[in-house]
Amino acid sequence: MKVIELQNIYFSYSDRVILEDINLAVEKGEYLALIGPNGSGKTTLVKLILGLMEPVCGKVLVFGTPLKQFKDWHRLGYVPQRAVLNNGFPVTVREAAAAGRFGRIGLCRKLKREDWEAVEEALEMVGLLSLQHKPLLELSGGQQQRVFIARALAGHPDILILDEPQVGLDDRYLYDFYCLLKQLKKERAITIFIVSHDIGEIGSWADRIICLNKKVLYQGTPREVLNPAKLKDVYGMNLYAAN
């Protein structure tokens, strides 16, 4: 089953075409990585999927429903690129992560006990439960990034869409982070859609890789895609990649 499907998507800012004839699908339960150089349109593509921007033409389907009619937003978890709250926003770690529950419980309702339990469980997963009452602003950049990952997890999504979440995470946590994604996929059947520039690591974790640079250049298993000739094509230079 296709959980996300893009058909003939074109997108441009006033004078520049950013995405051209994009066709891709994310299958239920898969671990998909989207790679491509800076400015290749990865973030734009994610925002099109989330309805934050509208394609010039083409169709976006989420769980088989056209985006305009789609209502079950709580099924999507989203970790924005370089997530930060508006400047100086006074929240605790716990409050920031709790926002991930709002879409699920609906308008006008208060957070109940089970919601806070989900929040705490998500913070536990990213290893920040002990800091839950600290002001978010007292955390390091990488720790804040983990709070936003917890926010997405707290809503118990069916798909997790992450836009370069590795940025700012240190090496030691990065490994834990990849394990966490793998575990979520395995134990909860969550579909993972991760945007990555870290082509070395991601190859050993993802099921499938899509290379983007304005168009979808290649897609397939890491073994098929991550070979020097193809990467040179995508990045326009020689890159060494593991596998």
């Binding site: 309805g51 937003w73 999507l76 006074p90 709002f102 308008l107």
Partner: protein, 280 residues
């Protein structure tokens, strides 16, 4: 407490209590979105509404309602321009604010006899709150508080991270529009007590003070409400005792809270740093 023998004073205090509560309650969200000037802009539009009401001879018991109407329309126009025009937010607010003030001055001039009134509208007054006004203030206060009781969590999400709020399925544009309308209504009814030039201060200063002290969103909200009410009541009392403009007194009290908190915080941080360095 002989001030409580006067009906006008009781009305003023009651109006002050409500505005002291709802101004910072909405102000929290304005400040956190860096939209503090919205309140001032809407205040100037409301002033133009007051002046226009005087000019066309709106009956006194309806004048506040009329102002409220003008403020609401002004807010809708400002919001429309915000979405449609390519102006930056601060440029747009400056534009609308000057338009409001210019219209107000001209309308006041045309309606004559307004010379006395205009200062009370600019700086607030204890005497201007009528019984009918109080009802309207009460109604607006109830609407604002109900909205915040039910929508605080949504507004919090939108203000902290608008894109994530959209992705979670919240009707962000609708809530933003309702919010702006509530700010307009609040500003319009608060003019009576605090005045055009200072209503923005009552929305913003208690929040800034709370941001110094509060460590969570919840704390910031409750502290803002408490400081707003306290500033309002103390300020109005001072205004009565010393015969000074109500708005000025209220805002000076709010400022005093800010300065004291700021000072204490600075000292506290200084000592804490020293202590940490000495004792590890």
């Amino acid at each position: 407490m002989d001030m409580l023998h006067y009906d006008f004073m009781i009305r003023a205090l009651f109006a002050g209590l409500i505005t002291g509560l709802i101004c910072p309650a909405l102000g929290v969200f304005l400040v956190l979105r860096r939209y503090s000037f919205m309140a001032d802009t809407l205040a100037h539009i409301s002033l133009a509404g007051v002046a226009f009401g005087l000019l066309i001879g709106v009956a006194a018991e309806f004048s506040l309602l009329f102002t409220l109407g003008v403020a609401t329309v002004g807010a809708l126009i400002a919001d429309y321009l915000r979405v449609r025009s390519r102006l930056s937010a601060d440029a747009l607010l400056a534009l609308v604010m000057s338009a409001g003030l210019a219209l107000a001055v001209v309308f006041f001039g045309l309606s004559r006899g307004g010379a006395l009134d205009i200062t009370s509208y600019l700086f607030g007054s204890l005497m201007t709150v009528s019984a009918a006004d109080l009802w309207l203030i009460l109604i607006v206060g109830t609407i604002v508080l109900l909205f915040l009781i039910f929508m605080a969590k949504e507004m919090y999400f939108i203000c902290s991270d608008e894109e994530a709020a959209r992705v979670s399925g919240l009707p962000v544009d609708l809530l933003n529009r309702i919010f702006i309308l509530l700010v307009a209504m609040t500003v319009a009814v608060s003019l009576r007590v605090v005045g055009t030039l200072l209503v923005g201060a009552l929305m913003v200063i208690p929040v800034l003070t709370s941001l110094i002290v509060g460590r969570s969103f919840r704390q910031v909200v409750y502290l803002s409400l408490a400081l707003g009410v306290l500033s309002s009541l103390l300020g109005l009392t001072a205004s009565y005792q010393f015969g000074l403009a109500a708005g000025g007194c209220v805002v000076l009290v709010a400022l005093a809270f800010f300065i004291v908190s700021y000072g204490i915080k600075q000292l506290f941080t200084l000592f804490k740093k020293r202590w940490v360095v000495k004792n590890g």
